[in-house]
């Protein structure tokens, strides 16, 4: 038997079959890999690297380390209990002079202002004055120039700057910050906006997902069951918005929903309301516009799943004694769940990142995390905050996806 097997496992040239198979397979795999290589590289460069860089920016900030090298070095031995000694002040004075000469005070001021709002301009002005100091002792001189240099929290901040990594941006993104002695404390109420905003983002996304589901499911059912000549027309109407830019659609909603917009004028004309209803620049407008934009994303996966459900299932259920609703609910509906799950997940995740639509049809209280990421990126150039918010949003999305997977099972999802 053994000899037989060995004989069988060798090709005519005496090479083991296993080796030959591996060689053939390797060639095939190599070819497959070459085919996906461009996409792999594209994803790596266009997706993985920027996101990795963003995650890195959320915790990495070496502004103080590079622009105030002497001070941060001098503070490495500081115990943080009392104000640092003269040597640290001397280092500070030198750093401020250098910074002034290199026009780098703005960056330092901006960085300090993030954590201690209102101090930015004082940093700049004291740097200007410090540039004229020529001899010590620097401690009284600097405190004389600006009392800010006698503050514990300022020095704690500078000491934290001796590390290129900071948790500040992440803390701030969940409404925490560093206290005067680098302890973690809750942000003061006038600054604590992000936790609410994350919850709001979640709430709006869930609301929009639910709305698209309620509106999309019946339409998807109709699409899947109507004869082709009607369903094609309906399908075009569903997909039509895809061919229009998001901006145009959002502006169209402004026209429809505004104070004297189409909808209000109609309701007034029909005497349903006596005063124009506030339909825009608030949550209503945001949810309406987002629902409209997201509808196809929810609808199409459901439709494609429904398309595969055989009509005979419902017929079979009917013949087995189930009434129309019971047959639909127990036999048809459960089979659409993979589509519902896919559509909802798609819409929900896309909703989490919205910012243009809420900015145009929402009020200040309807802005989502995305708006702040855009604001910090485009207007304040605060990359740390933008990255931290982005990183938290991404992490939250991944966690939600994981939970969803545990509950529903992504392998059961059908994207169509």
């Amino acid at each position: 038997m053994v000899t037989m097997a060995v004989q069988i496992a060798r090709g005519p040239d005496g090479m083991p079959l296993r080796t030959k198979l591996a060689r053939v397979e390797r060639r095939r795999k190599l070819r497959a890999f070459t085919l996906v290589l461009p996409l792999l590289l594209f994803i790596l460069i266009g997706f993985v690297l920027p996101i990795g860089r963003m995650m890195f920016n959320a915790v990495h900030d070496d502004t103080l380390l590079t622009l105030m090298p002497r001070t941060t070095a001098a503070l490495s031995a500081w115990d943080g209990a009392d104000l640092p000694d003269e040597s640290a002040y001397a280092a500070l004075a030198e750093d401020l002079k250098q910074a002034w000469a290199q026009r780098a005070t703005g960056a330092i001021a901006k960085r300090i202002n993030y954590e201690l709002p209102g101090l930015g301009s004082q940093v700049t002005s004291s740097a200007r004055k410090a540039s004229t100091l020529s001899a010590g002792p620097y401690k009284p001189a600097l405190i004389e120039i600006n009392p800010l240099w006698g503050r514990q929290d300022v020095w704690s901040l500078l000491k934290r700057g001796s590390s290129a990594y900071t948790a500040y941006y992440l803390l701030r993104s969940v409404d925490y910050q560093y206290g005067p002695n680098s302890e973690i404390v809750a942000s003061p109420p006038e600054n604590a906006i992000f936790w609410d905003m994350f919850l709001r983002t979640l709430g709006i996304s869930i609301g929009v997902t639910a709305a698209t589901l309620l509106l999309g499911f019946p339409v998807a059912y109709l699409l899947a069951t109507l004869p082709a000549k009607y369903s094609n027309l309906l399908m075009i109407m569903v997909v039509l918005p895809f061919w229009t830019s998001l901006l145009v659609r959002t502006v169209a909603w402004v026209v429809l929903l505004q104070q004297h917009g189409v909808l209000n004028e109609m309701l007034l004309g029909l005497h349903i309301i006596s005063q124009p209803a506030q339909l825009i620049f608030n949550r209503i407008g945001t949810v309406i516009a987002m629902t409209h934009i997201q509808l196809p994303f929810t609808l199409l996966p459901i439709y494609s799943v429904m398309k595969t459900i055989s009509r005979t299932h419902v017929r079979a259920a009917r013949s087995l004694g189930a009434g129309p609703f019971y047959a639909f609910w127990k036999v048809y509906f459960p089979q659409t769940l993979p589509g519902i799950a896919a559509g909802s997940l798609l819409t929900f995740i896309l909703c989490l990142g919205y910012y243009i639509t809420p900015a145009m049809v929402g009020g200040p209280n309807d802005q989502m995390v995305g708006s702040f990421i855009a604001h910090y990126t485009n207007e304040e150039l605060n990359w740390g905050m933008a990255s931290a918010l982005g990183a938290i949003l991404l992490t939250a999305t991944l966690v939600l996806y994981y939970v969803f997977n545990k509950l529903v099972g992504v392998d059961r999802i059908k994207m169509g």
Binding site: S310, T312, H313, R315, A316, A317, R318, S319, L320, G321, A322, G323, P324, Y326, A327, K330, V331, P334, Q335, L337
Partner: protein, 417 residues
């Protein structure tokens, strides 16, 4: 009485044709005693549940009365259907696709509404009754098992709908599964079963709630040949064991012949013939049935003389043939002669048969149990002879000159389409 079927067909005929049709019926009756082969088979079938069926009476279990169906308002898919099905009968609707058989089944199930006429179940009209109230089990070609439920849940579904308690459901599901020999498969999902197993589950599910009537819409169409033949027997046995009424739709004639008490041959929205399998094969009433059921040689000719139950038909350029006058109008009218390949004798002893013609062998195909020979005769070169592979089988070569002959009663003069 067995030929009440012909009345069904006659109802579709014009009134002035009735008398002639009665004559024909008489002639069939008379032949009955003469036909040794067909007689036994028919007698066997006649003892089945189909016996005692009365057309036009209200005793039928299922009754189609003047049923018509059109989808587009222009063409009738089912044309004026009258059909009675007896309790406990296994009735097969056989026909090519588009013949109206599935539409008829769907009307009975309640998924299609008749455009005209009415359907009665146990003498009560079910036209206004929704499908789930009809208490009819149904097996679909695609099985229609619910993919999100286990086999057990699938089987329990009709019982749960009927609000049966768990204590009652479990044993019934178990029994139903064992009946189709799938005792250990209850916890699996349909996708984890083979096609044959899925089909058996579908069968069990259609039976588990003890329906009065079970409809099967080409249930074996998706199975391979061997499995299909096995399942045919299983279904037949289940039918015999339970005594349930089954209406079965198929386009496979051998399936219909295997299982049915009676077969309704559909074509063009009309039942062409309704008869037990043997009778259908032995005594097709028209050219379509003769052609559709089994293999059949057709010779086109013209009636030159009528002589009671027989007639003389002239085949152009070949001579005259003596045949049974089954469905011929009058002297001088065209007709189609139908002749089963196995009833043709090779090189008959001269004088023993009324119909003998010379022929030339065109093709010989060896098929194990028999040899199929295509010959050229009477100007037809697609004339087929089946020669059983038994002692005395003559070896034929293509091109060989032979004679072929057949009895009068094996040759049926039918309508000329």
């Amino acid at each position: 009485m067995r030929h009440s079927i012909n009345l069904t067909r006659l109802k579709q005929a014009d009134a002035h044709d009735l008398d002639r049709a009665r004559e024909k019926l008489q002639s069939v009756k008379k032949q009955h005693g003469d036909l040794a082969v067909g007689g036994a088979a028919t007698a066997g079938a006649a003892q089945g549940p189909g016996r005692g069926l009365m057309s036009g009476t209200n005793s039928a279990f299922v009754k189609f009365s003047e049923v018509q169906k059109t989808y587009d308002g222009d063409t009738l898919v089912v044309k004026n259907l009258n059909l009675d099905i007896a309790r406990g009968e296994f009735l097969t609707m056989l026909g090519p696709s588009g013949s109206g058989k599935t539409t008829t089944l769907m009307m009975l199930a309640g998924f299609e509404v008749p455009t005209n006429g009415s359907i009665l179940l146990e003498a009560r009209s079910i036209d206004a009754m929704p499908p789930h109230k009809r208490d009819i089990g149904m097996v679909f070609q695609s099985y229609a098992l619910f993919p999100h439920m286990t086999v057990e849940e699938n089987l329990a579904f009709p019982l749960k709908v009927r609000k049966l308690g768990r204590a009652e459901i479990e044993p019934r599901v178990k029994r139903a599964l064992e009946r189709v020999r799938l005792g250990g498969y209850g916890k699996r999902r349909p996708a984890q079963l083979s096609g044959g197993q899925q089909q058996r589950v579908a069968l069990a599910r259609a039976l588990v709630f003890d329906p009065k009537l079970v409809l099967m819409d080409e249930p074996l169409g998706a199975l391979d040949k061997q499995l299909r033949e096995q399942m045919q027997l299983e279904i037949k046995h289940i039918h015999e064991d339970l005594g349930v009424t089954i209406v079965y739709v198929t386009h496979d004639q051998s399936e219909a012949l295997t299982m049915s008490d009676r077969i309704a041959v559909f074509d063009d929205g009309i039942i062409q013939q309704l008869a037990p399998p043997a009778e259908l094969y032995e005594r097709p009433q028209n050219a379509f049935v003769a052609q559709f059921i089994g293999e059949n040689n057709q010779l086109h000719g013209k009636v030159v003389a009528m002589n009671g139950t027989t007639c003389k038909v002239e085949i152009a350029g070949a001579g005259n043939v003596q045949a049974l006058a089954i469905n011929v109008d009058a002297v001088g009218r065209p007709t189609v002669l139908s002749l089963r390949p196995e009833r043709v004798q090779l090189n008959p002893t001269p004088g023993t048969l009324p119909n003998v013609f010379s022929a030339e062998v065109a093709e010989v195909i060896y098929l194990g149990d028999h040899v199929r020979t295509r010959v050229s005769v009477c100007g037809h070169n697609d004339f087929v002879i089946k020669l059983p592979n038994s002692e005395g089988l003559v070896r034929l070569e293509p091109g060989a000159a032979i004679t072929v002959g057949w009895k009068t009663e094996d040759c049926r003069a039918l309508d000329a389409n």
